[in-house]
């Protein structure tokens, strides 16, 4: 039903692409991250939950048709349904049904609970196209309550010594998940980088409850940042923007922080393991829950995951895509920074 072309995953029967990396006539978008939602296509189909962030990403001129989760749209006999993916606000899996056959494209997803978006729902299908950003068994997330407790303890320690706490997090999704996680933590004020603030406003307008924030850019000169928590995109690291904060402890919230080398290379004070992707056990669990016989594995450790699934008797293949997931070096961050 789907095949891979040089523009992306293509459904011939419905004549549309899913998360194409080049401009096409019709695109179904799983979520608003830069590597999945690209500019320039003629028409987009996306989830209503993510409408505001997608609009911020694609601009006012984009033609976007919105559907609710679970609502089915039929095009040339192909039934298209968006199902919650639990990755970020509005993220969706795409379910395609044609002549009794069901395919599901996961987009990026996680099965952990997240107060900023509708939780992941498993969908039975014949063929499941899954991401594999953290598709190695070394990636097993600790309970997020522990991570948030660590983060708040770090903030409190810094505050008690008159230091600011700066946490780098992807501007769309992770930043808001942190803001939800620290809501009600009575430590100090929470400040944001412009790229984070704009998307945070989209989240609030979409009805997500987050800690109160103030953009750094609106603060008067000479504001003391001691005791505050600052949320900034990773692209702000090493930039002159940081100079104003004085004594500051830095941390990065990402699944990559699981590995010591990734923490050390960024010369961070702390690394918090917090990911919007499935870890290894959740990935295997999600694949199993689909009941799919065929599994296509995209971006991340696709060769390794495909081989592992094949050895377990599934019909799996690695599929080269231009999606990056939570790329450690995150080229997508460049355009996040551009929103500042």
């Amino acid at each position: 039903m789907l095949r891979l072309t040089d523009r992306g995953l293509y459904c011939e029967a419905a004549d549309l692409y899913i998360d194409p990396w080049l401009a096409v006539d019709r695109a179904v978008i799983t979520h608003a991250h830069g590597d999945h939602a690209r500019w320039g296509s003629g028409w987009y189909l996306a989830s209503r939950e993510g409408a505001r962030v997608l609009r911020t990403r694609l601009g006012d001129d984009a033609s976007i048709e919105l559907v609710d989760y679970g609502e089915t749209r039929t095009i040339n006999g192909v039934s298209i349904t968006l199902v919650p993916a639990g990755h970020i606000l509005g993220s969706a899996q795409v379910r395609l049904e044609h002549r009794g056959e069901v395919w599901v494209v996961s987009g990026d997803y996680k099965t952990e609970p997240d107060p900023t978006c509708t939780p992941f729902e498993p969908v039975r299908c014949d063929t499941f196209i899954t991401e594999s950003t953290f598709g190695l068994p070394i990636y097993r997330w600790c309970a997020q309550d522990e991570t948030f407790a660590d983060l708040r303890a770090w903030w409190r320690d810094n505050a008690s010594e008159g230091r600011a706490s700066l946490v780098y997090a992807y501007a769309l999704g992770k930043a808001q998940r942190i803001l939800a996680g620290v809501a009600g933590a009575d430590v100090g004020p929470v400040y944001t980088h412009g790229a984070v603030e704009r998307l945070t406003a989209d989240y609030r307008e979409s009805g997500v409850r987050l800690a109160a924030t103030t953009p750094v850019s609106t603060l008067p000169k000479g504001t003391s940042f001691a005791g505050s928590l600052i949320v900034a995109p990773p692209s702000a690291a090493g930039s002159p923007w940081l100079r104003r904060f004085g004594d500051v402890s830095t941390a990065f919230a990402s699944g990559w922080m699981q590995v010591r080398g990734a923490r050390r290379r960024r010369a961070l004070d702390r690394g918090f393991v917090l990911s919007d992707h499935v870890d290894w056990p959740a990935l295997l669990g999600a694949i199993e829950a689909t009941g799919a016989e065929n599994v296509w594995v995209t971006h991340g450790y696709r060769d390794q995951v495909a081989r592992f699934l094949n050895e377990r008797g599934l019909n799996a293949r690695a599929v080269a895509s231009h999606w990056e997931g939570e790329n450690d070096e995150q080229p997508a961050v460049a355009d996040e920074g551009a929103l500042a």
Partner: protein, 534 residues
């Protein structure tokens, strides 16, 4: 163990030397002597020898984690460190004990060291038991200890500084006591920080005094006549100690290498008791230096036959005299130490294994410049400049001693292969192979790991991922278009290298984005730099 794990995390999460020293000093101030002793041992790079073959440990980890070997290897590639890979793959610990109940020395003495004499089955049971008890950083550290790969970013000097800070004993005394065969027991730790410093074992060397690279112009050093210039030799820095009728040779790396240099032991017999000479072990023949590569043939050999001793004889090029007649001369001005050194070496002239480090006459700074330009022809790697009134200090200090190395050799080469690094560089391609043109072909001749900024490494990594032609395991063959200026210190013919030459200490000087592969240097350029065969 928990306390030590906390110390490890504190050291590991900062790049500030002061913060590392403070963390260690806090630990030493509160730890039990038996634990502190092992902490000193591990922090200064000590490791118990060959407890268990590493692959055996990996196999048990695969079984325990139920991961096939190929997937284990993939994980190892991604993490870049075996001990960490295992710590991440193992299932959560089942009955985590209160790790404080078993302090560091108990872990080492009762759990770690006995592994060496166990049968394979016993080893397996012991390692699995520890894995099931430990979690997080402690499990990772245990893996580092059993695989003999424990390493943390501190030097023995920093450990000595932290001990000095915690105990109030002079850093030099601590460093002196730490040198040599220090055994990690509660008693030796207590002796290490004891107030009475007359204890020093006769075999122990003084801490080596090191020079910083010259900054700025020679003229900024003042009057040239207040300085002593010597050649900077490229050998093995060492101290030769003659005390109580015995001779000891210590390298700067803190290794006792007496047995490897019988020439020096014999020469020691010509020295009066209570003598310590600082110098450079050099391969030396017919009154001149041999290339360093010759010395490498002797390093690491356990037994030295008459052939190698005849082919690569060594001398100690004597730089300085640190002890005379049992008296510590280090605070005596250099000029006086040098005069005594000359006398001692002269008196020991029966032995040809001592060479007094030649003084480069210095009236004006131009004399230094001329000598510097001439250094390579003597197989020296530059000049040392020492104030005539300088003391022999401890560690690396700025001010009275400077090293002024000659400009390195330089070629523009094309990157042909790349592979991921280890540790903090594991997720990036940071190890590169470079080639030079030979007709239409590209001949690989050097690997280099250092010299690029983190930003350049990231940019290059992204480029490598998109321009890979072929893959051999973790190694990627890339399109031969990126040109880099490589520097290296020496060049030698080598039948063992495909290119026919071996270069010493190659590193990247800069990324020549202004050059295309056609503009890179050729093998002919490189061969033109070969020294005349010796």
């Amino acid at each position: 163990m928990k306390q030590f794990a906390r110390l490890y995390s504190a050291i590991d999460s900062t790049t500030s030397t002061n913060a590392k020293v403070s963390a260690m000093a806090d630990y030493f101030a509160s730890a039990q002597p038996a634990d502190a002793a092992w902490a000193v041992y591990f922090l200064s790079g000590g490791r118990p020898k060959r407890l268990i073959p590493v692959r055996r440990i990996a196999t048990w980890a695969m079984e325990e984690a139920r991961v096939p070997e190929w997937l284990f290897d993939e994980c190892h590639h991604a993490v870049g460190d075996l001990a960490e890979t295992i710590a991440l793959l193992l299932p959560s610990s089942v009955h985590a004990i209160d790790a404080d109940a078993l302090p560091l020395h108990a872990w080492v003495v009762h759990r770690l060291l006995p592994l060496a004499t166990m049968t394979e089955e016993e080893q397996r049971a012991a390692v699995l038991a520890a894995w099931r008890e430990l979690a997080g950083t402690e499990r990772y550290l245990w893996n580092k200890l059993i695989t003999g790969s424990f390493r943390v970013g501190v030097s023995e000097q920093l450990v000595a500084r932290a001990l000095a800070k915690a105990s109030g004993i002079d850093e030099g005394v601590i460093a002196h006591r730490l040198g040599g065969h220090w055994t990690p027991t509660a008693e030796s730790y207590t002796a290490l920080v004891a107030a009475d410093s007359r204890d020093a074992d006769v075999s122990r060397p003084f801490p080596f005094y090191l020079a910083y690279a010259l900054e700025g112009e020679l003229e900024s050093l003042g009057d040239a006549r207040e300085w002593q210039a010597e050649w900077k030799w490229d050998g093995i820095r060492a101290q030769l100690i003659r005390r109580d009728g015995r001779t000891y040779v210590w390298t700067r790396g803190g290794e006792l290498v007496t047995d490897r240099y019988p020439e020096l032991v014999e020469a020691g017999d010509h020295l009066p008791d209570g003598t310590v000479i600082d110098g450079e072990i050099m391969p030396w023949k017919s009154g001149g230096a041999l290339p360093f590569a010759q010395l490498q043939r002797r390093i690491g050999r356990k037994t030295l036959g008459p052939k190698i001793l005849a082919e690569v004889p060594v001398v100690l090029v004597a730089y300085d005299l640190l002890e005379l007649n049992g008296r510590d001369l280090r605070t005596t001005p250099l000029a006086e130490r040098r005069a005594e050194l000359a006398r001692i070496v002269d008196a020991a002239a029966l032995s040809c294994a001592f060479v007094l480090s030649p003084i480069v006459p210095l009236e004006t700074w131009d004399d230094a410049r001329h000598a510097h330009a001439d250094a390579r022809t003597r197989r020296a790697e530059g000049l040392m400049l020492k104030r005539l009134d300088s003391e022999y200090g401890v560690g690396r200090r700025k001010g009275s001693w400077w090293k002024w190395k000659v400009q390195p050799y330089s070629v523009d080469a094309v990157m042909v292969y790349a592979q991921p690094g280890h540790g903090r560089r594991a997720l990036l391609h940071t190890d590169y192979t470079f080639a030079l043109r030979e007709g239409d072909a590209l001949v690989p001749f050097a690997k280099a790991y250092s010299g690029l900024t983190d930003a350049e490494i990231r940019t290059l990594d992204a480029w490598i991922r998109r321009h890979t032609i072929d893959r051999f395991g973790p190694v990627r063959q890339v399109e031969p278009v990126q040109v880099f200026e490589l520097h290296f210190e020496g060049i030698q013919r080598s039948p063992r290298h495909k290119s026919g030459v071996a270069v010493r200490f190659p590193r990247i000087a800069r990324w020549r984005t202004d050059k295309t592969a056609d503009e890179a240097d050729t093998m002919d350029t490189l061969r033109g730099m070969l020294e005349a065969p010796v």
